[in-house]
C-alpha cells in the first residue's frame, strides 16, 4: 500500500487538487456566509504559514523561531508599496513576499553557523529586535503603524481568492520542490549536515534556499493579513503569537509532512472558533495539545495515520497468509 502510494505521487496530487476544487466550490462566497468566509480566509492564511514554517523546521531541520518577522515584513512592505507608489495590489503583494525573502536570507545568513537550540534562540532575537525597531521607526508609523489605502483593499471575496491561490500555489511549489535535488538536499541537511557534506551537498546554499522560499510564502501570508486588518501595527503584524500558532499547527499535524501542517491549521482554527469567548482556555489548550503531541505522537497526526495504516496493512497480510497456508 505504501509502495503503491509512492509509485503514484501524481495520483495523490490530483486527489489533493480535486479535493481543493471541491472545497473551493463548497466554501465559495456563493455558498457560505460572510463570517464563514472570513474564517476560511484566516484558515488558508494559517495553512500557508504552517507550511512555510514546516519547510524550514520539518524538512530542513532549521528550527526558526523568527518566522513572524517575515509575516510582518511582507505586510509592511506591501502596505508601503500601496501607500507610496500606488502599485496594483498583485504587484505590491508579490513585492511584499520578495522583500520578506530577501530579509530572511540577509538576516539568517550569519545565523546558519549556529546549530540546534542556538540557531533557534538567535532567530527569536532577530524577530524581537526587528519588532522593537519597528515600534520606533517613524517612517513606518512607529507604534501607530500604517493604514492601507481603502481603494486598494479587495472585498472579502477578493481576499478569499488571493488566499486560495497563495495556498494552492505554495502547496504546488513545495510538492515540486521536494521532488527535485534541492528537496533531497533539504532533508539530507536536516538529518545529518556533516554527512550531507560528504556526499557533495553545500549546506549553506541549501539553507539559504529553504529560508528564501519559506520567508517568501510567509511574506505573502503577511500581505493577506494586511488586507484583512486594513490597519497594521508592529504589535499585530509582528506578533509572536503567530509564531506559537505555527509551532502548534505543525507539531500537531506532523512535522516534515506535506499535509500535516494543513491538518494542524484546520484543528487550530476550529478550536479557536469554538473557544472564542474563552481566550485563556484556548491558549492553555494549545499548550496542552503541544505537550501531548510531543509526548504521545511526536510525528503528529500524520505519524499516527501512517502507523495505523501500516499496522492495518500488516494485519491484512497476516490474515492473508493465515488463510493461504493450510493449518496443521
Amino acid at each position: 500500500m505504501r509502495r503503491a502510494r509512492l509509485q503514484a505521487p501524481g495520483l495523490r496530487l490530483a486527489g489533493v487538487i480535486g479535493l481543493g476544487a471541491a472545497l473551493l466550490v463548497g466554501l465559495s462566497p456563493a455558498v457560505v456566509t460572510a463570517y464563514e468566509l472570513f474564517v476560511v480566509v484566516t484558515l488558508l492564511r494559517y495553512v500557508v504559514l504552517a507550511q512555510a514554517w514546516n519547510l524550514l523546521a520539518g524538512y530542513t531541520g532549521l528550527l526558526s523561531l523568527g518566522n513572524q518577522v517575515f509575516v510582518g515584513v511582507g505586510a509592511y512592505v506591501m502596505s508601503l508599496v500601496l501607500i507610496h507608489w500606488g502599485w496594483p495590489l498583485v504587484a505590491a503583494f508579490l513585492v511584499g513576499g520578495g522583500a520578506a525573502a530577501l530579509f530572511g536570507v540577509v538576516t539568517y545568513l550569519p545565523l546558519f553557523r549556529l546549530r540546534g537550540g542556538y540557531f533557534a534562540i538567535s532567530t527569536l532575537l532577530v524577530a524581537l529586535a526587528t519588532s522593537v525597531w519597528m515600534v520606533n521607526w517613524d517612517f513606518v508609523g512607529a507604534n501607530s503603524g500604517l493604514n492601507l489605502p481603502p481603494a486598494a483593499i479587495p472585498s472579502l471575496e477578493g481576499q478569499f481568492f488571493y488566499a486560495w491561490l497563495t495556498m494552492l500555489g505554495f502547496l504546488a511549489v513545495q510538492w515540486g520542490l521536494l521532488r527535485t535535488r534541492l528537496g533531497l538536499f533539504f532533508q539530507a541537511v536536516r538529518d545529518d549536515e556533516e554527512a550531507a557534506q560528504t556526499v557533495g551537498t553545500n549546506p549553506l546554499t541549501v539553507k539559504v534556499a529553504a529560508v528564501g522560499v519559506s520567508a517568501f510564502a510567509s511574506g505573502l501570508a503577511g500581505g493577506l493579513l494586511a488586507m484583512e486588518l486594513i490597519s497594521i501595527q508592529p504589535g499585530s503584524a509582528f506578533s509572536i503569537n503567530v509564531m506559537l500558532d505555527m509551532l502548534v499547527m505543525v507539531t500537531i499535524g506532523g512535522m516534515g509532512t506535506l499535509m500535516g501542517p494543513a491538518i494542524g491549521a484546520v484543528l487550530l482554527i476550529v478550536m479557536e472558533q469554538e473557544l472564542q469567548q474563552y481566550e485563556t482556555v484556548s491558549l492553555l489548550l494549545k499548550a496542552v495539545l503541544l505537550i501531548a503531541a510531543v509526548q504521545v505522537a511526536p510525528q503528529g497526526l500524520m505519524g499516527v495515520l501512517s502507523t495505523t495504516r501500516s499496522a492495518a496493512t500488516r494485519w491484512r497480510k497476516v490474515r492473508v497468509s493465515e488463510t493461504a497456508s493450510p493449518r496443521r
Binding site: 538536499f185 545529518d192 557534506q197 556526499v199 553545500n202
Partner: protein, 519 residues
Amino acid sequence: MKPLLRVDNVSKRFGGLVAVDSLSLDVEEGEVLGVVGPNGAGKSTLLSLVAGSQRPSTGEIWLDGRRIDGLRAFQVARLGIGRTFQTPRPFHRMTVRDNLRVAAAARATEGRGRRLDVDAILELTGLSHLADRPAGALTLLELKRLELARQLALGPRLLLLDEIGAGLTGSELARLADFLTEIRELGLTLVIIEHVLHFVMDLADRVAVMDMGRVRAVGPPEEIARDPLVIDAYLGERQERNSPENRPRVSVTAPDAGKGEEAGDVLVRATDLWASYGMVRALNGVGLEVRAGQAVAVLGPNGAGKSTLCKALLGLVPLQSGTVEVDGEDITRWPTERRVRESRLVLCPEGRHVFAAQTVLENLKLGRVASRGARDDRLDMVLDLFPELETRTGQLAGTLSGGEQQMLAIARALMSNPRVLIVDELSLGLTPAVGMRIYERLHRMLERGLTLLLVEQYISEVLATASSVYLLERGTVIFGGDPWDIGEEDLANVYLRGQGYSKKGSPRSSVGAPAIEGG
C-alpha cells in the same frame, strides 16, 4: 606513476597537541591502502584532513595533480573523494533509496570512477529489498552497507573508510571483507583506516602504521605483521616482561591466586554479564573475579568491551543479565552513587575527565566530596604519592600536560578512599615513560592494600603489575588467568590477526586454555 593522492608534509595541531606530525603519504590509483595504529595515533584526523572536514595547519594535499587542502568537505566530495563514518550516519528519516539519491544528485563532477546508477548500487550492496524503508530502521550491518552505498552513489575515485569493521562480529566482518573486495573490482582506490590490524591484512595491498601522528612503517601486510616496530607498538616491550628479575616482584605483591594462601578473598565478582548498545553487542557473558589486594588487568583491542565492563561494574550501563557482587553482596541493582559510597568502587574513566576550569586542588577536593568517611590526611597522602601535583595545586587542570592530567585523575579518584580502583585506559595517549611512572605509583598503592582493576588496550607495564589477566575480544573473555600463561600467540592473534576471521592465520589453537568461568 603519479600517485592519485599525495599527502605532503602535513601537520595538524589542536592547541598544543600535534595530532598529525609532518606526515607524507602517497596513495596509488587502484590500490587498497590500510592505515592502522593505536588509538590517538592520528588516523581519523588524517582522514578528516584529506576529506576536507578539517584543514591542515601546514603542508599540502593533492588529488591527481590538483591541490585540495583548502577546499571544503562538499567540494572535496564533488572532486571524487568519498568517506564513510566510523559510526554510520544515515539520513535516518529518508528512505534508503533517497539516501543514495542525495549523493547521486551531488555526484562527483570530475571523478573517473565507474558510474553506477542508484538501483545498480542498491543491488550491488544487497540493499534492494530495503530501498523504500527509512534508513533509521536498518540494522548495524545494513547501515554500514548504506554508508558504503551512499558514497558509491557519489561516483568517487577514492574511498576513505573509517573503522568500517568496528562493532561487527566475526561472520559480519568476513562478509564485509568480501564486499569490499567486490568494490575494489570497480576500479576504486580504497584507504581503509582500522584500529585492528587483522581486518585490513587480507584486503590491503600496502599497510601504513601510524603512531603519534607519524607514519612509522609502510609496506605489504605480511611484512608489516613481522615488523618489530609494529609488534612493539601493539604488544609493548616483550623482552622486559619475560626477564626473570621482573617475576619475583609480581609474585611478592600478589601471590598466585590459584594457591590462595596469601591472596585475599574475592572482593569483586562479576558473573555472566550481558550488555549491548542498541544493536551492537558489547558484553557476551563476561565473568571476572578480583581478589582483595590484587591487581587485575583487562586487555583487549578497541571495541572488545573493556570500557563497557568497567561501566557495568559501576552501574553506568544497563545490564541485560548477570550479577555483580562486592564482598559477597549482590549490588547489581544498586545505583552508581551507592556503589561508590558503600562498596567504594571508584572508576577513573577513559580520557581523564578532569575539571579543566578548576585548579588541581579544587579537582582533588571534589574527589573527596564523593566519600563520607574520607579524612583530611588523604590529601597529604595523595600529594605525597604524586609530588608532580604538589607544586601545581593552584594551576588550572586544563593547562596540565596529558600525563599530569592522568595523574590528577587517578589522584582525584584516590581522594574518595576507594577499596577498588578501576582505571580505564591509563596509558592512552601517554608516552611509555610517563605511563611507567604512573604504574610505579599504583604499585605503591597496591602495597598499601588497594585493589586495582586496570583496563588497557595495549600491553604495556600492566602485565608486570597485574597478578591475573583477562583477555577480552568482541565482548567475550578468551583468556583468563596468570599473566605468565598468556601466550605470545594469543596476544598476536587478538591484536595483529584476530581470529575467526583471518583466512591465512591458523585458527587459535593455544587459547583453548581454561577460558574463565563466565558463560
